[in-house]
Symmetry: C3
Subunit: 347 residues, 3 copies
Amino acid sequence: MGVSIGELAVRFGCELRGDPGVQVERVATLADADGRAVAFVANPRYRQQLAGTRAAVVVLDAASADACPVAALVCQNPHATYARIATVLHPFPAASPGVHPSAVVAPGARVDPGAHVGALSVIGEGAVVGARAFVGPQCLVGEGAVLAEDVRLIARVTLCGGVEVGARTVIQPGAVIGGDGFGFAQERGHWIKVPQIGTVRIGPDVEIGSNTTIDRGAIEDTVIEEGVKLDNLIQIGHNVRIGAHTAVAACVGISGSTSIGRRCMIAGQVGIAGHLSISDDVVITARTGISHSITAPGVYSGHIPHEEATTWRRLVGRFKRLETFAARLKALERRQAAGPDQEKHDD
Amino acid sequence: MGVSIGELAVRFGCELRGDPGVQVERVATLADADGRAVAFVANPRYRQQLAGTRAAVVVLDAASADACPVAALVCQNPHATYARIATVLHPFPAASPGVHPSAVVAPGARVDPGAHVGALSVIGEGAVVGARAFVGPQCLVGEGAVLAEDVRLIARVTLCGGVEVGARTVIQPGAVIGGDGFGFAQERGHWIKVPQIGTVRIGPDVEIGSNTTIDRGAIEDTVIEEGVKLDNLIQIGHNVRIGAHTAVAACVGISGSTSIGRRCMIAGQVGIAGHLSISDDVVITARTGISHSITAPGVYSGHIPHEEATTWRRLVGRFKRLETFAARLKALERRQAAGPDQEKHDD
Amino acid sequence: MGVSIGELAVRFGCELRGDPGVQVERVATLADADGRAVAFVANPRYRQQLAGTRAAVVVLDAASADACPVAALVCQNPHATYARIATVLHPFPAASPGVHPSAVVAPGARVDPGAHVGALSVIGEGAVVGARAFVGPQCLVGEGAVLAEDVRLIARVTLCGGVEVGARTVIQPGAVIGGDGFGFAQERGHWIKVPQIGTVRIGPDVEIGSNTTIDRGAIEDTVIEEGVKLDNLIQIGHNVRIGAHTAVAACVGISGSTSIGRRCMIAGQVGIAGHLSISDDVVITARTGISHSITAPGVYSGHIPHEEATTWRRLVGRFKRLETFAARLKALERRQAAGPDQEKHDD
């Protein structure tokens, strides 16, 4: 299934340096690529690897083009262009339309004839599976859940009752969308469960990673807007809203009723407290804890990098004595302000 | 399925201000409620929203009652009363007793005739499913596992062999109860697996969140006492014991053999080291790491909130130089103590 | 199914103090053991419990042997010897070879006749299940995935297409191996998915915990080398390599393209940034964030332990004013250096 690099240049608006008739079949790294493979350089620090490559063609920007010993597809955003070329060469395998005989589809569910429902999946009463949607093996599409066209549930995805998923959204295995939010009322040292009657609405072009959990709303819905990208093992509490095109890395926890803006980037292991509001275009670096709202775009941090353990223990010791430091500093200032004569009298 | 607000007042011990014959059908937020809906105010900071509500009735406390423009159900603990009313109006859907034909039930399993076993679930040899228990689709009830009456496994819950679950306990999708604990003996740089032969015992009225994992004991059992509430993506190591009515928020990790007291509240992303003992009535705030036992009730913290990134980097720089600070402070004190004359001599 | 302690002594190279004919059937704690049980002491602090034990025999080292009131199996590494004895007394239950009638096996899959495939599992086209492999209930072995001999997928494990699993490796429920890596190219505030065409290769004798996720590589593969032990709820990003015999505790996140050495020990809730290199024999203590590469063996830390909340708040306040501290310290030093006369003139 070869494609000529001339066709790729035309299709993706690149300047081609080299023979347009060369055929490529796959993508590869600069180091491993052979004469049928496309490689790319998006980060200048990998430019030095260009010299040794045997790729058929390399996707790169103008600044790297002269250093390229083979054909080049020159463009402004090599990473994005590479992503598009890789999607042409390595398309998601087409799934045959139809319902696997081992799947359990409720009589009142509507499955588009062009959709695929995999082995041992369950489609609940009143659920809707849209055109060309792909429901992999062992998925659960709960009662009344709605999948728009071209949704892809890779495998073993759980959508609880009433969850809505927008067009082209991709959900990786183990994700649980629409489990109950963590809502309990306290009474005399016991907890009383508060029914969670909202649902989860997920926009189009969203991606949700493996084993990520998104809770249904307490009364209103939890909302993930279009183009949001969520990595693995993320927790999204009830009534959270995540703005369009925000990306969230793995192991992040977002507590209930917090609202995140559009185009934010939230790095790994960040935690965001509940009932907060985070503005658009906020970047939060890895392992930061957010305990109050952020009202202005910018970069926010809260993580102290590691040290060799004995050095670290000494620093922690100093930290724990900061109160003493403060008192000693104050005493020094007071005595210095008093001047040498008073000091004498003190003695 | 309407209920009169007079009946709700009687049933839940509220003072009713308004017409007892008004019928309600659902709960809603103050802002969205219409004339068939119950709303509530549990937090004084939402009291201002009362003015605009069109709810049929609002559940609130005496302090908020005068500000309520519609009927009121006045009580001491509006959140708890709301939870009970919401449960009446939005009950868990009754599941038909019986075993779905696609479920796989071992010949030696005992499923109560009033229990529900959903599509594509597996009930292992010797397992017991109690009266009115609800086993949702795609669950695994391992060999010899025991579900008491009214247990609800929402969907795709995994209970490994021998796990015991108390009455009325609810487990959300993706939870894994009774996987092997992380037990390995080291020998010459390799690891030898230690068989994990205990199980997990879960009390009544517990709630376990989506994709939470609770490991089986190494020799003795891991124990979750009655009324414990666990949020999503929590890790509970082998041989841990969690005391009754303790609540644990999402993304918490509790290492092996640690014992947590009763009525504790543990916030999100907290980590608790192994072999520790945490007293009753301990509150641990978000993102705190607990590395030694806590012997007294109280509130414990260990998280530094975020800053704008350049401010944070400067603070980290100062932190990393705390040793230098200490030395400079000492030098200042020494010179000051020596007095001005000695200082002169030093020069 | 008794075994004589004499036989255990011979088989595992222990010195036996006691009657070799005594039969044992199970393992137990020192406190609970009866006359048919083996207990062990690996940690000197549990030695005091020896006095009261009624075990048939205790596995321990020479230093503890004299304090043992019952028979003793004396050896250099009691924990490792205990692990081996426990494995003899509590073997993994033998599964009958064969494919459960409810499993869905693709026509082109190859399942060894000695392998077990459990209820409602799916074996994809072109997948291979090796000799004596155990595939528990509700597992997915994706298209072209390969399980070597004696692999054990406990239950509900998801292996996506092409994943390779080495001999004797054990994977706990809920683990997802080979979900897509988190790869997106940014373009004008939107994200374009980068196809993830690598896979995951897992060596022999690996253990993977419940609900842990290991992403497939972007172009090349994600690699877990032999003997690696991964606890629950761990995230391994795309293109990561983890060296042989490294152990990783629960809730750790390892970002994409990072390489971890051999025989490392990584404690709970650690986070490691992407594109780093961690040397062999590195120990990282709990909750540490690693933001740059580690080139030398050793112990590394970055966590500040908890305090009672009011003390902690005061310390955080001091920390946030470290800039002010620095300025005050500098001012003191400047004035002290200037000497008393200049101070007078300043006034």
